[in-house]
């Protein structure tokens, strides 16, 4: 390397840093004054059904769907449903529509004091069934495909085991734990009763949202600091800021879990390990996952440190009534729904499977 080249490269570096510092200053002011890089819910949608706090959104498409049945996405009662529509260019519903599907999202709303006695039956036997009926009425289809992310996948499995007559054609579960013995010491403490479930309920009778958030955050004590350093490093980059804001907002935004449902989940899913031991219950009767006969795809994120592979993989062994498939992807729990790899690799693979199990509309 000649001295001229070295000096030239050093000058380039200084020039780049000066430009970035100017952009950092601009974006820093925008960030501190509450500027928006990623507006909430960028894809236009219409609420087609609501009951209480629960509603179903239908995403507007310019052309009729090319593939049937429509796809209904939902989470469990932990996070917000806008994870399916995080920001422009990283919207699962938009990708679904681009792939030819009609996209719907079921939002459970934010439970409050009046929902503290809601049970699995309330959500899976009532809201979910009526939400699916609304999608069928809106689309004119006879069935839907379901994508359940994390606890949403568990909801779907529990619901379908209890009500095999639900008009669901295909099921995709994403990072949905089945074997709750592998989810770390906090879940272990709930499993063995060291943590009394009653003690986790607040005055409203629910598990407060901040407690759910803290339980996730506590896993990485330096996480906030790392996030701030990431922010400083990439503050100049508007594209990065879009994702940073959208994901950061979603990770901070947890909803309360209804107390009665929480106690059912701890007893049936955690303590009884009911998905594996066939000890799930619904309206007082025992149910079994072997009742599920629809094609199922279980997506596993290999770098998921929240729901590890050992907790998710057994789903293919217990779904004895159907041909369950496993899709391992090189992603983490959150990066399964966001980031370049999710857009370019993960979701196209899921859509490929869904398309193969759906039919083209004439």
């Amino acid at each position: 390397v000649t001295p001229e080249l070295a000096i030239g490269s050093m000058l380039d570096g200084v020039r780049r840093e000066i430009e970035r510092t100017a952009l950092r200053t601009r974006n820093g002011i925008k960030y501190l004054t509450g500027g928006e890089w990623a507006p909430l819910g960028p894809t236009p949608s219409d609420t087609i059904w609501e009951e209480g706090k629960v509603h179903v959104r239908h995403y507007r498409r310019e052309t009729p769907p090319a593939i049937a049945p429509p796809v209904l996405c939902f989470l469990g009662l932990v996070g917000r449903s806008y994870v399916f529509d995080l920001w422009k260019g990283n919207s699962i519903v938009q990708m679904l529509m681009d792939a030819g599907f009609d996209a719907y999202v079921l939002d459970w709303g934010e439970p409050d004091e009046h929902d503290s006695m809601n049970t699995l039956e309330t959500y899976l036997g009532g809201y979910l069934r009526r939400g699916i009926d609304a999608v069928l009425a809106e689309s004119g289809a006879e069935q839907v495909s379901v994508i359940g992310y994390c606890m949403g996948g568990d909801f779907a499995l529990h619901a379908l085991a209890a009500q095999p007559d639900l008009p669901v054609r295909n099921l995709v579960t994403m990072c949905s734990p089945i074997d709750f013995r592998h989810l770390g010491p906090l879940i272990d403490a709930l499993r063995d009763g060291s943590i009394d479930t009653e003690s986790m309920l607040d005055e409203t009778g629910n598990v407060p949202g901040p407690l759910v958030r803290q339980s996730f955050k506590a896993r990485k004590p330096t996480g906030d600091l790392v996030q701030y350093v990431n922010l400083w490093e990439h503050l100049w980059n508007d594209e990065y800021m879009e994702g940073y804001q959208a994901i950061g907002r979603w990770l901070e935004d947890h909803i309360p879990v209804p107390g009665a449902l929480f106690q059912q989940v701890v007893q049936q899913w955690l303590r009884d390990n009911g998905f594996l031991t066939d000890r799930l219950r619904f309206r007082g009767r025992r149910i079994s996952l072997s009742a599920i006969e629809i094609p199922t795809l279980a997506v596993i994120a290999e770098r998921d440190d929240i729901v590890v592979e050992a907790a998710t993989a057994p789903v293919v062994d217990i779904l004895t009534g159907t041909q369950a498939e496993l899709l391992r992807v090189d992603a983490g729990h959150a990066s399964l729904t966001s980031g370049r790899k999710a857009v370019k690799v993960v979701w196209p693979r899921i859509f490929e499977w869904l398309t193969a199990h759906s039919k083209e509309v004439a």
């Binding site: 943590i195 490093e233 293919v316 041909q323 391992r328 992807v329």
Partner: protein, 188 residues
Amino acid sequence: VAVSSTSRPGNQRAPSAAKAKPKPAGPPAWRRVFNRAERAVGAPLEDFVGSRRAIDGAVSVMKVQRAMAGALRGVVDRELAGLLHFVNMPTRTDVRRLSRQLTALTGEVRMLADHIDELQRTLPPARESLLAEVRVLAVRLDELQRSLPPAREELTGEVRALAGRVDELQRSLSEPRAAELGAGSPEP
């Protein structure tokens, strides 16, 4: 069970063409220093908070906090309740109790709604069986209608006969009455 993967095998070497490409710029020096320092502190911290000992400790602290907060709230609530009840005002506990009752009622209404839904779902087969019965009845009605004309003629004959007898009776009833009226009338 079909298994597929999107990840690259871990120990597979990149093709030689990739080697020729310029290496992408890594993180800046200050970031590399931070990362090292963060891991030096963060990794043992994560191990600790992820241990059962830490969870048990946190649970104990939470229990003590709750007990203390509960005791304090109990004292304050008692004092405040006396004062508020004295002026006929509800306390937070009263409102909460009412709210719980309302929640229970809402739950029952939802349960009823679910039952109605279930009934509606089970109704179609019942309606089908009713329709089948109606169809059978319709066939029988057709048969009856076909067999009706002769029966109707018979009935018509009988009705006519009866009508004749009624006429006769009317006549026989009116004649004596006219005679009675004629006999009993005063002379002018």
